[in-house]
Symmetry: C2
Subunit: 114 residues, 2 copies
């Protein structure tokens, strides 16, 4: 009888904070949310998010460097996709938490939004 040992490496506090910060921006959330549905090329992301093209590209570079998305060239297009289904999990868990704390988050003005 074999035993599977998962032993998840627990990230450092700084790594976690850095990863959370990757999600802590409306523009990146829009991009990731769109990519959770299906892989998309840059100009499609620009259309759907309403962000400027350089802005989308800048965020994509960051997301790519962090390993949150992957890219494949397709002719003159570059198609981006999320790198792991765990990203979708994280996003839906945040919505689950918002079910509980949405009101408080809304009224908290320590952050005035960016």
């Amino acid at each position: 009888m074999t035993q599977i040992v998962v032993d998840r490496k627990v990230g450092t506090i700084e790594q976690r904070a850095k990863l959370f910060r990757g999600f802590a921006d409306p523009s990146r959330l829009s991009i990731l949310g769109a990519l959770c549905g299906e892989p998309l090329v840059v100009h499609e992301l620009v259309e759907r998010t309403g962000l400027s093209q350089p802005n989308v590209s800048n965020h994509l570079r960051c997301l790519l460097e962090c390993g949150l998305v992957n890219s494949d060239r397709d002719g003159r297009f570059i198609r981006y996709r999320i790198s792991s289904a765990r990203i979708a999990t994280l996003l839906s868990d945040v919505d689950a938490l918002l079910d509980v704390v949405a009101g408080g988050v809304e009224s908290c003005d320590n952050y005035r939004g960016r």
Copy 2:
């Protein structure tokens, strides 16, 4: 036969970003991580996190306003606890995602850390 309809309200992009930003700071992550173990009073949080007392209080005010923690007065102490087990879920989700992307997150220097 009854059917249970969950219909989760999906938060707005801005709400999600704001909630993520609540987690996107090493100090707040330390505090929340400590509180996931057990409820603690302020000076215990100060000891365990190594943060200054005003700093901890400032972050607690924010976390309280957002509804991520609750507080109860206990004599001259004030005991804080996380408001929902979903917070712990979210934190473990991030560690699960870090299993996949830790290297990339580490090397991404679009954020230089705070």
